[in-house]
Symmetry: C2
Amino acid sequence: MASLNAPVSVRSSAEIPLRPAASTRAGTTRTARLPIGEHRPSVPGGRFSPTAFVGEAVPFTVTAFREGHDRIGVHLRMTSPTGVTTLHRLSPLNDGFDRWRVSVAPLEQGTWTFRFETFADDFATWQHAADLKIAAGVDAALMREIGARLFEAAASERTRPAAEKRTLTTAAKALRDEAVSDDAALTIVRDPHLAAGFAARPVASLVSVHEEQTMLVERERAGVGAWYEFFPRSEGAERLPDGTVRSGTFRTAAKRLPGVAAMGFDVLYLPPIHPIGEVNRKGPNNTLTPSPGDPGSPWAIGSAAGGHDTVHPDLGTLEDFRAFVTAASEVGLEVALDLALQAAPDHPWVSAHPEWFTTLPDGSIAYAENPPKKYQDIYPINFDNDPEGIKAEVLRIVRHWIAQGVKIFRVDNPHTKPLQFWEWLIATVNAEHPDVVFLAEAFTRPAPLQALAQIGFQQSYSYFTWRNTKSELEEFFTWISDETADFMRPNLFVNTPDILTEYLQFGGRPAYKVRAALASTAGASYGVYAGYELYENVARPGSEENIDNEKYEYKFRDWDRAEQAGNSLAPYLRRLNEIRRAHPALRQLRGLHVQRTDDDAILAYVKHLDAALSPTGESDTIIVVANVDPHSARETTVHIDPTLWGLPRGVAYDVEDLLTGARWTWGEHNYVRLDAFVEPVHILAVKERS
Amino acid sequence: MASLNAPVSVRSSAEIPLRPAASTRAGTTRTARLPIGEHRPSVPGGRFSPTAFVGEAVPFTVTAFREGHDRIGVHLRMTSPTGVTTLHRLSPLNDGFDRWRVSVAPLEQGTWTFRFETFADDFATWQHAADLKIAAGVDAALMREIGARLFEAAASERTRPAAEKRTLTTAAKALRDEAVSDDAALTIVRDPHLAAGFAARPVASLVSVHEEQTMLVERERAGVGAWYEFFPRSEGAERLPDGTVRSGTFRTAAKRLPGVAAMGFDVLYLPPIHPIGEVNRKGPNNTLTPSPGDPGSPWAIGSAAGGHDTVHPDLGTLEDFRAFVTAASEVGLEVALDLALQAAPDHPWVSAHPEWFTTLPDGSIAYAENPPKKYQDIYPINFDNDPEGIKAEVLRIVRHWIAQGVKIFRVDNPHTKPLQFWEWLIATVNAEHPDVVFLAEAFTRPAPLQALAQIGFQQSYSYFTWRNTKSELEEFFTWISDETADFMRPNLFVNTPDILTEYLQFGGRPAYKVRAALASTAGASYGVYAGYELYENVARPGSEENIDNEKYEYKFRDWDRAEQAGNSLAPYLRRLNEIRRAHPALRQLRGLHVQRTDDDAILAYVKHLDAALSPTGESDTIIVVANVDPHSARETTVHIDPTLWGLPRGVAYDVEDLLTGARWTWGEHNYVRLDAFVEPVHILAVKERS
């Protein structure tokens, strides 16, 4: 509980009453009297603030120890952006590495400060020694007298509750009373009620205050959401009797919004909605020979009709777009736009600002290329000739779309633009609009991927699509939920217009189920590109993308007929999103624990959220068990550690499969059979036994 | 080579001519135009400087990348304490993690600064594209013109040698010459001579200068040395006809110095040489009932005869001690003293400064204890009552012994005193005497052990004694030579008066050989406590220390007779130390590479030092193969990676066993038989084939 009369700024697994802050003593050493080592949350290198989202359960850990054997305590003092300070007591992990931990969920958006405070825990030191020595008959009188003095000193503290003061005074008297036996004195030493008082209000000496740190807390959607991607031009597109196609528009696409919302998605992401270049336009399947009616790739942005600040005339007007955003909002969907900083050869920028591109010695402008391949429908931007001009223009564009109601941008290939530029852009935009979220589409090496997250991107596409085996997934889930979670929030898209993995191409319908179930439960954010629910799994031969890629043509899909015929994954996706909404543990990035199984394709993990950290005030525990071999039925033993949610080992507990409604009694070692052709995944909710 | 006319301050694997430093551009972002990520050497948490010793080959690594596909280069700019600046080019590791590396051995003691500089490598970018595109017939003329312009620009640089300018001008002309075929142009693109010029003097744009870092370089002995420990009172002690013992003295102990030196040791460490408390003195085997002649533990410091600034009267006078230090120095031994900050009950401090101890409510002073156990011969110091008084006194004592010629202190149990105190003491002493080395005897958990190294201790006792199996040793050697090497230098003592491990108790003579061979080759510093060479292996039952521990009594050992009888390990130790002196690779902490073998008790590792980093100017490569099961003869295949020292795989090379003189031809996969009862270890020198 937060301190009285203050707004509730955190949920905490160990909040204690606020006490005055000790002032940091100036010293000539970099080490404090009671030192600390490394801490988390933190960003490697120390240049950037760790991040969290509102309601995220963040484990704060720190290495803390002192010389010799005396006991210490560790506090975390946090101050919210509005200035509410809370104090939290860390527990030792007792792992041999002197690490301490407490989990806190911040509830206010903005920049928080936090610091660790270490102190000699005089009660704990006395209790430990008195317990051993009085029991062994060594120095009993001395230990009792030391305890009596400690209790008296505590009782004299102004901030201690009156009832506790009376208890302490009585206990001190008893410790000094020769009529009280040593055995009776030992019960005072071991009194859990007294110990609890000292835990909340420790008698602290040698208080050491450590360096203040910052943590940036962003809105919940920065970390949590189910995303859906569709091309608005396909939604409502119609093939006319003459064989040509009438493009879908924002008006026709808006008819699809209730269907997407009914599946339970939170964010609708649209590929670029701007005019598409006519020069060197690509035809179907990325060919260089388009027919007159071919719509071209939306990422080849710009034509005589306008550039990044313009809506493609085929889709309607800016007003139509605003109406689309409003309609989405009315069904609970937030619209995300694409921000692709590149230009078709006929983009207005090219003539107005040739300095924003690279002019070659022959006077031509350089195409995008990966030597010796060239991409002649796209000019990449050169950020170094006129960096200030480009910054001003991009900021203008982003502000323009924010003014239309857009607060989420999916940034195309940010790793091909200067990192410095993104740090500047995101900081500048977030200073004006802290709610704006940028998602980095950086399918690249770990160093640039992580750097983009560190410098400000709220979310990142991830390696999830290429992590398909049990061992790959175990490593990947541990990486995202622990190693990089202080600065990176992955969005686990199951597919994109560019990515149709072999696992999906050849895994049949079970593969589609497995991947959706994993993405929606292991990640706090995940995404689906339209067509996934129709099991679209035919690739352009030799490639990892759909044949007849929607990037270059219209798609005609009959969602309702597929669902009525039982040929749609939509009901499954709907159920997954319902489960996510009902279970706050699944809306957490941190706190995933891989569990051991005896089969090399049965993957298991637990996600747990303590009652103290949960928005519902109730503990939430989910066990996911998945057969990631989509061609098999497998049976094995799954080993679950129930101490993760506070149960002792060896105790039975009830689980309910949220997908099928089946109920079982589970324990530490559990028989599981998963037939990929029936239900490849269990999503089990642990039930509290009354 | 260092730049002309400057003193040689480094050895480097890739030094290049010094160029003017770019100035750091002020910017609003924390990210530079060409960003870097984490680097090494560094100390976790970033509060302390990494360390190295003079002549140590230090790998400098940094994560560096840029957006898109253009090539970058990375330089390390270092400035020595006397202001000599050198520039070093890093090579990409090409490991998928965008890491770059160069190894540099600093040769000047003191605080160095270093920083990384990243730049667009315009030649490499052009070369990569031109090679692919001209070969593919794409944009050949354009690529040739771009190259010609690049060469012309380079030729106009003031700092480029005249011969190179001429070559560049000629090449530019040829690239533009239509009579020169594209095939001929490709030979220019691929010309290694031109590429070498551009590697040493790159055409750099977007130069990004990163934060300046510091590295503390200490004298070689801070990192490298063979240590020997003896109790001076045992050396020359004599049992008199009446059964009493006449203590050895500095004069008698000095007679042992040539023997220790002849074994090849560098440092002689003496347990405390101060008066020993009479009150509560311990008897043989740590008993509480000493006889009148029992000498007591040297760590129970202080009596009416004096305290930490005094020589025990049994050992002689302060003048005798100085003579002993001089005699040691004359045979090449440096004397290390013990610094044990605790007091016997009759230490002069106790009456003069009771505030330096803890007074209990009953008026008594608190003994050292581990409840409920008490150590009644020792009072621990309380550093919090009068920290300034204690600091002044300890500084006085350390200065006193420095004045007697001591420059190495082995600090007893530093983890039981405040970390802050040590940071202050070492910084203060080193500011006056940079050559003074402190060795931390902190047999404790990893966090305090590493913290002591980070805050200043030049050396640390280590977990080596308890790492005996192959897998334990592989992990330990990797830990010390890589993970912690930026701040911690372990001293691999094989035994101490407190530690006689089960491995030694029950492993017989082969165990003594194995442990000495591993300690002396895997660590840059290692140590032996007297008696090891006599295979003293009888423990006090149930304990991990010698029976009749020398801490509490005199020892009488006949070194010469044991050796003459073939019952001494001294010749083996002598040979190990000879090998260490002849092979600079063994005097390095970093650069140990564990190698795979097919047997679970055959351990193998390579230590290598590049010619460019070696004091001899020649490459040095040692392969150690040890059978760590001292009860067996084993044969297996040892897999060696010859690329570690620059050989291609599959090539044969010659090795010589430095212990036996045997020679073999080795390759990647090598049959090895090691009979623990004959020679449990190969120490193989790789021979250069001419």
